[in-house]
């Protein structure tokens, strides 16, 4: 009674105030986590990258079909030895400071990435780490020479880790861009109230007509609580929110809310530690693969929306290998038991499945635990908080770990980074000399058909040796107000708002 009375009182107070609605043409975005600053070279947080994608540009971009397309560089030439890349820059690019971007800025940006004292994320083999020299040819031309041939180099330069930054702004901020705007993007970095919102404002001197800002501003709100996010969308307080499969149940059949989804290039599955007994035995790993019922896991963890997949998902186009042809992708308990007996574990063994905070991963752990019990593997599911999970990931400290990885935009990332013996994300200590050889060949061959053959051979070896038991390639979801039009996220770009409109 008291609560109701007080609630009515509070309501009356609240409703008498004029609701402060957003003015102008503003897109309000409900994000799930707080950004960690906005230095494109040192920040890997998704929430930050989403904002930085509005503020920064790179030399090139990768489209939905994984083709490299121009961005700040309008064209480029690659030398016959595949070591030298000459980029021709667009001549109408202006930094948010108003200064014109030149080849000097490109040189400076790459030197910043390669500076060992910055600890830039792009300073690794997957991105710009292989750059040997950078040379300014003229104001609009820059030449980069690699230490070794790397066919994936060009596409990897589309990463936000390889953004072009304004030298003057970096220097004015004593080298830190965490809170500064040194970009050329369609929006400028505006107000940042940590744990509440960050605003980006339209930049009228953006160089590319097609990518111009379609809003006066975009406001990214931090709404960690999923139900608050949905309620904010329902009441029109925000226009677009990040969602997960669990939230879809709350959107009814005739609900005006739009569900927007795309197939990711991510994959989720069981990583078995090949450096540890008993998973060092390929027979055990095969048994695990045969023991899993991937459809059942998928139904439980992703409401059946994810696609059954290998570690190079079908969304990677012609690079993917069809896993449905693989015998071990169909559950076969008898076969699994036979393999266990052959490996010397007729009565199974005890093990631990390490899972992180993500809902899909946790659910997958629970179902896998039950399915593995059928072949005598008694698994304990260990739930870990994020920092601890990353720690164990880094230390290769697990029996089975369920991981959610991104396959990237080139198989060099998807194969070599995770499965070659020197790959820095090869957390399961998988090692196969032929795979290593194929990774080197794949990265240094320019002929596409030949590359495909190399990578497919490597992918098949890794799959058949059952280095992992990948389950599926999940969908990603957004929920939007009915007024939002033209938002078409893809695995290549989830934060492209050019051409998006709000019909209020």
């Amino acid at each position: 009674m008291k609560k109701l009375f007080a609630l009515v009182l509070a309501l009356a107070m609240v409703l008498t105030l004029v609701p402060a609605m957003a003015e102008g043409n503003v897109l309000r975005y409900g994000a799930e986590t707080e950004p960690a600053g906005f230095d494109p070279h040192t920040i890997s947080s998704h929430a930050s990258i989403r904002v930085m994608n509005q503020v920064y540009n790179q030399l090139v971009d990768v489209n939905e079909n994984l083709e490299v397309v121009p961005e700040l560089a309008t064209s480029w030439e690659i030398s016959d030895d595949n070591l030298t890349y000459t980029f021709h820059l667009a001549d109408n690019v202006y930094f948010h400071s108003g200064r014109k971007m030149t080849a000097e800025d490109v040189k400076y940006s790459y030197e910043r990435i390669l500076n060992p004292d910055l600890g830039a994320l792009g300073n690794s083999a997957s991105y710009a780490g292989g750059v040997d020299t950078i040379e300014v040819v003229d104001e609009a031309t820059v030449k980069m020479t690699l230490k070794a041939v790397n066919v994936a180099f060009l596409s990897s330069q589309s990463s936000s880790y390889c953004s072009i930054v304004d030298k003057d702004v970096v220097e004015a901020n004593e080298g830190s861009l965490l809170r500064a705007d040194a970009g050329t993007g369609p929006y400028t970095l505006g107000e940042w109230v940590a744990d509440n919102h960050v605003t980006v404002n339209a930049y009228d001197k953006y160089f590319n007509e097609a990518g111009k800002a379609s809003f006066d501003a975009i406001e990214f709100y931090v709404m960690t609580d999923a139900s608050s996010r949905l309620n904010a969308l329902r009441t029109g307080a925000v226009d677009l929110i990040v969602a997960d499969t669990a939230m879809l149940d709350l959107v009814g059949e005739n609900d005006p809310i739009q569900v927007i989804s795309y197939q990711t290039r991510d994959y989720v599955g069981l990583f078995m530690n090949c450096g540890r007994e008993p998973f060092s035995n390929p027979l055990v790993r095969q048994a695990v693969n045969y023991a899993l019922n991937r459809e059942e896991i998928n139904d439980f963890a992703y409401n059946g929306t994810a696609a059954i997949s290998g570690f190079i998902p079908a969304s990677m186009g012609h690079w993917a290998v069809d896993v449905n042809e693989k015998d071990y992708y169909t559950q076969n308990i008898e076969k699994a038991k036979a393999l266990m007996a052959e490996a010397g574990y007729p009565n199974g063994f005890e093990t631990v499945i390490t899972v992180g905070l993500e809902d899909g991963i946790r659910d997958m752990g629970m179902v896998a635990q039950q399915q593995l019990a059928e072949i005598g593997i008694k698994a304990e599911v260990k739930n870990e908080e994020n920092a601890q999970y990353i720690d164990d990931w880094k230390a290769h400290n697990f029996d089975i770990m369920i991981c959610h990885n991104g396959a990237g935009s080139d198989p060099n990332r998807g194969v070599a980074f995770f499965f070659s013996s020197t790959g820095s994300a090869n957390i399961q200590d998988y090692s196969n000399a032929r795979v290593d050889e194929l990774c080197v060949l794949g990265a240094s061959t320019t002929d596409d058909a030949q590359r495909e053959a190399y990578y497919k051979e490597a992918i098949n070896i890794i799959l058949d040796e059952c280095a992992t038991a990948i389950v599926s390639c999940p969908m990603a979801y957004f929920l939007a107000s009915p007024a939002l039009q033209g938002y078409a996220p893809s695995a290549s770009n989830t934060s492209d708002f050019s051409g998006v409109t709000l019909n209020k």
Partner: protein
């Protein structure tokens, strides 16, 4: 009195040192570190080494601690490992928001609890008393995250209403700020109200039983004077103690409400700091919260001397 205050403030020093050591040790003991958080999947041994050097994490632990404390005594709480922002100004800006929320919550709690507690004591065992007691029990026992979520849902479904999502400071726009803060403050206040109400009731009952109240009544004092000047004032010491403790714990303890309502308060800052293993932020926040807690309780102790002049500190 002045000596007492100085003594209490000096007593803060060992408390703060103790807390800072404890936080430092705990942050070292829990698995996970800030570099892993920054680099995530991209980490290589070389990148890791660079970041450890950059953040000073390559130094021996004792040296790390003394470097930090050495700066802290000069008022420099360092910079956030994650965002590079100086910690102290960030804490102050968050504190203002948390303090506003806590104070509003308290005012709402008092408005609800004090009159009802007094009425409940005066009409002991009546129907009103019983209703008040049940409602108070409900207030204490319904977790605030549940009531907050339900109220948001109710407002969204019933009135298509949501509190403004963009935080605006009190001085920037009073109306919008109140619109953002009143609902969460009400939810916090309703939880506090339950315990304040119960405390008011039992404390009042105790005082009303005293002989001097009989004497006041026998003297022919009007009932209002008896209740407010004589009974309530004397029964307010435990209530003030309780409120002091509640304000203190609200500083960092409103994190769930802050998350649900996207309010950038001190609790959120601390929690983000902990999940990201951002040592300077966690250390700064916890010390600041401890400091506020001690100061609020000191103020409460000083307040006692005004409520009951017999209390003196030497």
């Amino acid at each position: 009195m002045r000596d007492y205050i100085i003594r209490r403030l000096l007593g803060l020093i060992p408390i703060l040192i103790g807390i800072s050591v404890a936080i430092f040790v705990i942050m070292q003991l829990i698995p996970g570190d800030v570099v892993s958080g920054i680099l995530g999947i991209e980490q290589t041994p070389e990148l890791r080494e660079m970041w450890e050097r950059k953040l000073g994490l390559d130094k021996p632990l004792v040296e790390q601690y003394f470097n930090w404390i050495g700066k802290a005594v000069t008022g420099d709480f360092g910079e956030s490992f994650r965002t590079g922002a100086p910690v102290f100004p960030e804490i102050i800006s968050r504190f203002k928001i948390s303090a506003e929320l806590a104070i509003l919550g308290c005012i709402i709690a008092w408005i609800i609890a004090l009159p009802l507690g007094i009425i409940s004591a005066l009409k002991r065992n009546s129907v009103i008393d019983r209703i008040v007691r049940v409602v108070a029990l409900m207030g204490v026992s319904i977790p605030n995250f549940a009531s907050a979520t339900l109220i948001i849902l109710f407002l969204a479904k019933g009135f298509n209403y949501h509190t403004p999502v963009k935080y605006v400071g009190l001085l920037e726009n009073f109306g919008t700020n109140m619109e953002i803060m009143l609902l969460p403050a009400f939810i916090l206040g309703s939880v506090m109200a339950g315990s304040v109400m119960r405390m008011t009731r039992s404390s009042m009952l105790e005082v009303l039983r005293q002989d001097y109240i009989k004497a006041v009544r026998a003297k022919g004092a009007p009932e209002k004077v008896t209740i407010f000047r004589h009974a309530f004032k004397n029964s307010s010491i435990p209530i003030v103690t309780l409120i002091g403790m509640q304000i203190g714990s609200l500083m960092g303890g409103t994190v769930v409400i802050e998350q649900i309502f996207s309010i950038p308060g001190l609790g959120q800052l601390t929690l983000t700091g902990i999940t990201q293993r951002d040592f300077p932020v966690v250390q700064g926040c916890v010390l600041f919260i401890a400091f506020v807690y001690v100061i609020v309780n000191l103020l409460v102790d000083i307040l006692y001397t005004y409520i009951d002049p017999r209390i003196t500190y030497t």
